[in-house]
Symmetry: C2
Subunit: 364 residues, 2 copies
């Protein structure tokens, strides 16, 4: 599909650039498209040889904090795969550093926060963040990518949602049980709400700043919120996600609201906000769409493990996801969670082609 230059606007900031007819952005707005747009969570990363080559000389934090490197990594999958959107290369935990978290990426073990937040004092000590100063490299990367793409492919910014960030801060890294997070939530609700208020402030400012720097859509990653019951979600998370989502939605760009394991949370998450609701492979996309309401677009939801399967199996699963969304505009194809380092690049390329071919439809 050739992009239509409708406005002649050459500004790189703001949402409504001259290329807002890209099929990704049209699908976010539930407008008809020539074929289903597709991108992947963690589409830039270790599974790509170009990325691994850069990592030989640079740490993960280097790549995130040097705008030219972050821009380069962001563009790698756009060049290699033909995806319909770029997503900024960054880590959801970056905003925690200026708040005071001592963040490191231990080799093979994921993020570690050496000073986990567990007490009232810890929470009071978290600093407010002036995002334009403290997160300037990320915002510069957004502008660089936007200029480089020159409207050919829309750029998605993103941030971790307050709950997911809180869980890393409190656990000091990843977790299977969220023991400390839930202990703080249940035993010290005042402290919990104070922490969530602080995080919501930073996340909202950070996303709005990304839009001002040129992001044409943003995704809020509440990756681990599926650890909660719907009642706990309503009580401990909903107000903060809603604040973030409403502030960033007010900028006018589409907002994708994503979590995993959210089958029973989707109605509340949709109420909290989001133009597009992301969901994982556990939820048949059609059922999920009913739960969030057909006034939302949906994003998903191939099991990322399927990308390690043989091609005929890949095709069968892609077909199945597309069938769930057939006949209604507003579907963005994606995996239900991030791509794995073990994923063959060729399979990712195959999925892009399959999605485009199998969903092709005449434009009126």
């Amino acid at each position: 599909m050739a992009m239509t230059d409708r406005t002649g606007d050459t500004s790189v900031s703001g949402s409504a650039g001259r290329f807002d007819q890209a099929r990704f952005l049209r699908a976010c707005r539930r407008e008809p498209v020539d074929c289903t747009p597709v991108w992947f969570m963690r589409q830039a990363g270790r599974y790509m040889p170009e990325y691994r080559a850069l990592r030989v000389h640079h740490s993960l934090l280097d790549l995130c904090q040097q705008p030219d490197l972050a821009a380069e990594v962001t563009l790698q999958p756009v060049r290699a795969l033909g995806v319909d959107a770029a997503i900024l290369f960054a880590d959801i935990l970056l905003p925690l550093i200026p708040m005071g978290a001592q963040l490191q990426f231990a080799a093979g073990e994921g993020p570690v926060i050496a000073n986990p937040v567990r007490t009232d004092q810890d929470i009071m000590a978290l600093r407010p963040v002036e995002v334009y100063e403290s997160l300037a490299p990320v915002l510069q990367a957004v502008s660089l990518v936007r200029r480089e793409l020159d409207g050919r492919t829309p750029l998605i910014g993103f941030a971790g949602a307050p709950f997911t960030l809180a869980s890393y801060l409190i656990e000091g890294g990843g977790s299977r049980t969220y023991l400390h997070t839930k202990q703080l939530m249940y035993a010290s609700p005042v402290a919990w709400h104070a922490l969530m208020r602080k995080l919501a402030r930073v996340v909202a400012d950070y996303l709005v700043a990304q839009v001002k720097a040129g992001a044409q859509a943003v995704q809020l990653f509440d990756s681990w919120v599926g650890a909660l019951s719907p009642d706990d979600y309503r009580e401990y998370v909903f107000p903060y996600s809603r604040t973030v989502l409403s502030e960033v939605t007010a900028t006018g760009v589409p907002v994708i609201h994503f979590g995993t394991d959210t089958a029973t949370l989707l109605p509340a998450m949709a109420e909290a906000g989001g133009t597009v609701m992301g969901m994982d492979w556990r939820i048949p996309l059609g059922e999920g769409w009913k739960l969030v309401g057909t006034n939302k677009a949906v994003q998903g939801n191939l099991d990322p493990m399927v990308l390690l399967a043989p091609k005929d199996e890949l095709a069968r699963h892609v077909q199945r996801v597309l069938a769930q969304a057939r006949g209604r505009p507003g579907h963005i194809f994606n995996t239900g969670h991030g791509l794995l380092p073990e994923t063959p690049v060729d399979n990712v390329r195959t999925v892009v082609e399959l999605v485009h071919e199998l969903s092709e439809r005449p434009m009126k």
Copy 2:
């Protein structure tokens, strides 16, 4: 409630002993009860000082494989907590040892299988299991506990379901992504189905043998099945769970079918079988009950993390779970997953009392 001796039968084997009027068994059959029965997954374990005292001198496998020790550990929570059912102390991975798995419990790291099953050859090499020989210590423990309890408290036997056992065998331990499991499933479906057939045979035989040894109910733990989409569950898991569940249901005892993260799998799991459907805290119990059908009993579903909360918070959450099941017989109170080692014993006792008090009702 005083148990009513209705039949005078003093046999310790078979399902319909003289104490089948225990409120746990009545609830499994959806008969009215004086108050809601309660037990906990992993109610025997590290959170109890009596258990830790035994572990000083015995490994986990020792405790499982010496019938007198397994019986003693099984009885500890019955004495200490006043729960309405005992559950055999054992590990779901025990049947994998006679199949050929080199199983060890690494300190603090959970189970490790030194020879994971990844190829056709690995699967062909798995041995069939003569459960009455190879798992005799477990069956002896069942009979010992049954005799010791003398009908005061019903005894639940259990086994891991084929999918969950397959995931441990293939990954060589626990997993967050089930990468190897799904790779085998998608890339080598013939091998996958052969493995599941072997596992279903062993699991069905093992559960039936536990019933013959005296278990008055059994639970099938498909703890990790929530990693799958409903379509994949139907294709790769359903036939094997159904075989197991139908064989053990034919013995006449109530069968509890449990998994976590199963919000979208519940209808298919209920179709696969089970007298009682277990579910975790992510699913409001009332909604889950609708999904499985009101001709099933339900078990659950307090977040085990709530047991680490202050008492008033505990009461609020217990109340909330009970409210979801109010007005319909057939609810067995439990946590949505196993108790954690960090759980205060006193809180567990409090939950038992709260459940009984808050659900008390006059018997007709």
